[in-house]
Each structure stands twice: as structure tokens, then as C-alpha cells.
Symmetry: D3
Subunit: 143 residues, 6 copies
């Protein structure tokens, strides 16, 4: 099993807020991340594809193609945007890192699986909200 | 001459916008950084103090004290905040990295100069807006 | 399966020494790491929790709570300390990175599992002794 | 299960080219990576060994020995070399990151398994071609 | 005085060789860097512009414009290229980091000075050949 | 003016303590850094040489020679050592970062100046005690 990973960056604003709950609940649970005037991050995203390398190219996936898919599916919709207000696929999603990696995985999956060699496929999405806070979605690692 | 530097982090939202100009001008000049729904960054700030070390302590400045001053003057006002709306000392400042380092230097100067040993004093403030975009204000380095 | 990771730092002194063996054996096996006058490191620790996100908060674990648990269980006992002499839970442990990650995992497990959402639980502890030497304990990853 | 990792660096030139295919095919597939005058990278390699720690030493593997094995098997043959022309074990290998990690794993396996404690053994080889492009070979992680 | 810096990357092959000297002299002086089959690096370049910020934009220089100038003058000619054979402005230059920063400065100067605000101008070019080997050209910093 | 920098690492234990002062004074001033059982760091040192490049080699200084001088003068005496007890040139020096950079500069100066081309000479020594605490000694930079 070979794993190839491509890293990229985007900058965005967000706020953690559950609209089904009271303002008090939100302030209590999310603290300064609930600031109604927003805050933001330099997000780093790492997308990993797992499988076998094509013997003719030596590629599990052409990283140039993976870069384009990440740009189209994640960076263009999210970069310099407000994650709560402006990203269609994040509508009704509380933009914690946990929820973001799951949403990004869903957005990327079809294009990545089509571009990868043979039965190689999207394996995981990792997101650094800060250098110290990291989330990863990797459904196949599971139990 | 000895230089000591302390590094810290904060996350904030902002938007580049000159309210004295038209929306067209702002979109033309600032592009996606002008997004009215804000975007944000994990800012890294480096504060440098220059001078001589106290022979009794070996310190140009106690970095614990410098850390507290940076927290009080920059991190507490700016962390998880909207730099355009919520930071009193940035009122009427377009929050480019250039303007931020100058404003932070002004905010820090008196406390840092008082805490530093002898004639040691605040030398520069550096800000990483992203890993690739960096600004520094260093008035004494001169021509 | 979602994985969330929190990173932290501590500085400590240590020495590699097996008191059940001769000084010659220890010098032969541990080389300069056996220096009786100690040496030290800026340790970086990464703690990963695995599971599902709480639909109300979007959190596998509140990273603020994880930060507090890491502070109480690992950083407060170890930071600016001598790992051989001053950390109760490391008594009789040769402080190699391998043994440290296992001991840290044991110290963290109950509090982390209680703070994590639903059946989410502590998944791994990773320790960077230097940028180039890394150890990880991950009991559930299995064979 | 404990995992220990050692990181190292080497600089090399290479070119992506499949000699069984036409020049047109190679330019189309590999783009600027096919440049006949070569390009190069500062490669970062991470080698991970998995198993149990020796109770007498606290080591899964002596990282000094792992460092020597990596030097002998990978760094000496590859550092400041042309990966297409000068590395015997890469003859007939298109030097993509995917193929390199697999070849390095094969080169390292016997020596690492012999040096590791008990049934501990080589677990994975990871290669950073750039900060943004990463490949890993980890045969036992399986599906 | 405000300093703004933009960082970028390129990958290239090169060899250190003085064609006016014998092969023996070159092997003696440059060692493995003289390998006739080339080696290569992931170069990191940092370009710094110094001056005053435009009060209307808050910019010393629009970093988007600086990015374009760096792409046109340095990255497009050098990325995935052989620095000895393929870069017109490096003809007859031994591609040490020292010589590269000086050549890059000359290439960048006119465009950067024109794009910078008022009397702001190109201040320095820094190049990381590896994480551990760095060169900088900064003519105005003087003695 | 061209500046070339070489980076290196060492691990050491130390304690901040002024033996001419009372234990109370030391605990008050140095806090946890005064721990009598020592603590330690992964120090990163950057040595910069400034001057002109030799036209025959393109080198301000052969970085291989600079690496050897740093090894002989700083790394061999300090790596895996206790900076208070075991380093002859640090006898009677309180090992703050400020004092260390000054002592390292003195140790390195003669050998570096002799190895550098023409009138090129040692320019600065920078030390990262942690990622966040940095000191630099640069006597020629100015006021």
C-alpha cells in the first residue's frame, strides 16, 4: 500500500455557533470561538490517496491533477471566504475542524477516486486549524 | 549589541478596506482581501528587544515579562477578534501587515522599554500574516 | 472515524541509565545519552483522540479541555523538570521516548476518555525528542 | 505497539521519464518533471520501526543504529547523486516518490529488522519530495 | 522603516564547477557538489522590500505584484531547470548560493523598485539552499 | 555585502543560577529555570559570516569548513552536556541565551575569520533556546 499526500493552504474566517441553541449555550460551549464578529485561520489541508502505483507512470495519482481537484473543490470555495456564510457545501455545518474534514472528504471523493490509478482512492483529509489543533477524517482506517 | 526575540500567535479576522474610497476602488486594489464577509489568519508575531545583558541576571529582558507585555498589549486585544471592528488601537487603521506592525510597535514600546535592562529597548516587531507574507517595523535600523 | 490532535511543548532534562546494570554497560549502550550530568530536550507532544463528533458541538473532544488535561497530567509534572528524579509516574522508568509515550498514554487515558464525546477515546501519544527522533504509542492500531 | 521514527535528509537530481515510451508521451505525462537537463530536490526521509521496547534498554531500536543503516543503505548511495543514473538499486525505476519509498523500504528491511528488538520490524518509509508532496510505503497497514 | 517579505519556492538541479580550473581543482574545492551528473535542491527564496507604506492602501508594495515579479524574473526561469545550463542570466555564474542571491537581486531590482510605493525599494534577497545553508544579499545594509 | 548562514543543533541541560546571590534571589528571578535538578533544550544555532564571495569559488566561506569549525568550537563541547558544569569556556557564565551567543561568538571568531574569504568575517550568532525564545549577538550591526 502506497500513500501519496498533497498539502495546500487557505485563509478563511469562521465562528463556532449552533443556531439551534441559545446564545448563552453557544458562549458557554464555544467561548471566544463564538465571537459574533468572526475570527479566522490560515488553514493547512493535507489530502492522502492510497493504493498502487501505475507501472507506466510510477504515480498513484498525478499530484498535479490532485492539486487541481483540491483547488476546484476546496480552495476556490473556501479561500478568503467566510466558512459560515459563503461556502455552499458547508451550509448548516458548524465549522469545527472535525466537521470540515468530513465535508472536505465528501467534496473531494468522486473526483479523486476517478483521477487515481486503478483501485487507488481517497484515504484521508487532514486539516491544521492552527499548528497545535489538527483534525483528520479517515473512514477506512476505522476499527 | 544583543537581540532577544519572543514569538507568539493569535488568530483574527480582518478585511482590507479604505472607507474613504469607493467600493470599486477597494475591490480593484485589495481583491479577495476586500471580501465584506471577512477572512482571517493565524498571525505569528515576533518582538525583538536590543541592548546589553544585565550582568546579575544575564537578561536583556526577562522573557517572561516580555511575554506578559505582549499578551496584555497585543494578544488579549487581538486574539479571536475582528481587527477592523474590535481593537481600539486599530480604529481607522487599514489592517495590512505593514500597518499592524507599526501599530503593535507603538502599543508595546513604553512597557517594553521600562522592563528591559538599562538602555536596552524595543527594536522591531515582525508579523507573519501567512508563512509567505511577512512585515517588520524597525525604526532604528534606518537607511 | 475522526481523529483530533492537540500539540504541546515542554523542556526537561534526563539521562538514559538502567540502574540494574553496570556503569560500563550503560556507557556502552547509551553513549553520550548516559552522561551523569544530564542533558535535555524541548519535547513536543501530540495527543490524538479518535471517535465521532458530537452533533451539537461538532467536537470529538473540546480541545480546550484536552489542553487542560495535557497540562495537568503531563506538562505540569514534566516541564522544566528532571525526568529521572522529579516525575512520580516515571519512577523506575528509563526515560527513552518509547517509555515516555507509553507512560504519558497511561497518565492521560482516564481523563481523556471521560472528556471525549460518546465512545471517542484516547488513540495515540506521539513525542518528538528532537526534530529527527520521534516515538508514538498507539495500542489500538494493532498489528 | 510502539513506533519509532528517524528523519534524515539528502539532496539529489532526477527526472521523470519512462524509457519504454516516446518523448511525446513523457512530456505529456510528466511535464516539467521530464526536463532532460534534470531538476532536483532536498528530500526528507522518515523511517518508522514498529514493535515492543526492550525492557533492558527501553529501545524498540537503537536510533543510532537506525541512523547508520539509513546512511549506508539510502543516504550514501543517493546524496548529491543523480537518482536516474547513479544509484544501483534504482536502475530501471522511474524515480517518482511512490517508487522511491518502495525501493528504499526494500533496501532497508533486512538490516532494520535485524537491528530492531525482538519481533519489532520496519513499518514504513515516508519521503517528502517537497514540503507539499509526500509519499509513504507501509505494506503492513493493509486495507 | 517597514520591511515586507514574500517567500516562494523552486526546485532545480545544479553543480558547482569553475570551468576555468582543472577537474582536480574542482573536485578538491567543491567535493560532492561538483558531481558531473548534477544534484538538486528545493530552493526557498525570500525577497524583502523596504520603505514607507502608501497611506491609501497600507502597502509598501502590493504582495500580489511582488509575487508576479518573482514568478516572472526568478521562478519561471529557474523552476525545474538546470541552473548551470538553462538560465540565461546565470550564464558564466558558478551557482553557489552567494552568487545566486546576487544575480536574483539584479534581476528583480528594476521591476520591484517600480512597483513599490514612493521611494520604497528592493532591500534584500535571501535563499535557503537547504534548511541549514542560507545566503543573503543586502547591499544597503552596509558595513 | 553577502551573508551566509549555517544552522546546527545540540541538546544540553542547564540551569539559570547566579552563585553570588542567595537561593531566594535566584528562585525569585529565574523561577522554574532555576530548578537545581536541571532542565534542558534542543538548541538551534545559526552562525552568519558577512563579506564578499571569492570569484574563483563563489564562496564567502566554504560551508563545509564553517560546519567543522562550529562542530569543534561549539557542538563538541556542548552537545549532550551540562552547560553549567562541563563546558570550559562557559565557566562563570550564567547560561542565558544572551550570554551563550556572546560566548559562542568569541569562541568562533578567530577560526571563522581565518577561513572566510578576504576581509569577510563572523557577523552574528543566533540561538533558538526554544522555537519562541531567540537571542542574537551581532556586534557590528550598529548602535
Amino acid at each position: 500500500m502506497i500513500y501519496v499526500t498533497r498539502k495546500a493552504h487557505f485563509n478563511a474566517s469562521h465562528r463556532l455557533h449552533n443556531p439551534n441553541k441559545s446564545d448563552e449555550w453557544n458562549r458557554e460551549i464555544f467561548g471566544k470561538c463564538n465571537n459574533p464578529n468572526w475570527h479566522g485561520h490560515n488553514y493547512v489541508i493535507e489530502v492522502t490517496v492510497a493504493g498502487e502505483a501505475d507501472p507506466e507512470t510510477g504515480y498513484v495519482i498525478d499530484l498535479g491533477k490532485l492539486k487541481s481537484i483540491m483547488k476546484k473543490r476546496v480552495l476556490d470555495p473556501c479561500d478568503h471566504k467566510n466558512l459560515n456564510l459563503e461556502v455552499p457545501f458547508l451550509k448548516n455545518v458548524i465549522p469545527t475542524s472535525e466537521n470540515l474534514v468530513k465535508s472536505f472528504f465528501t467534496e473531494l471523493q468522486e473526483d479523486v477516486d476517478n483521477a487515481a490509478y486503478g483501485s487507488s482512492k481517497l484515504y484521508s483529509v487532514r486539516l491544521f486549524e492552527t499548528e497545535r489543533n489538527i483534525a483528520e477524517y479517515c473512514p477506512s482506517r476505522g476499527e
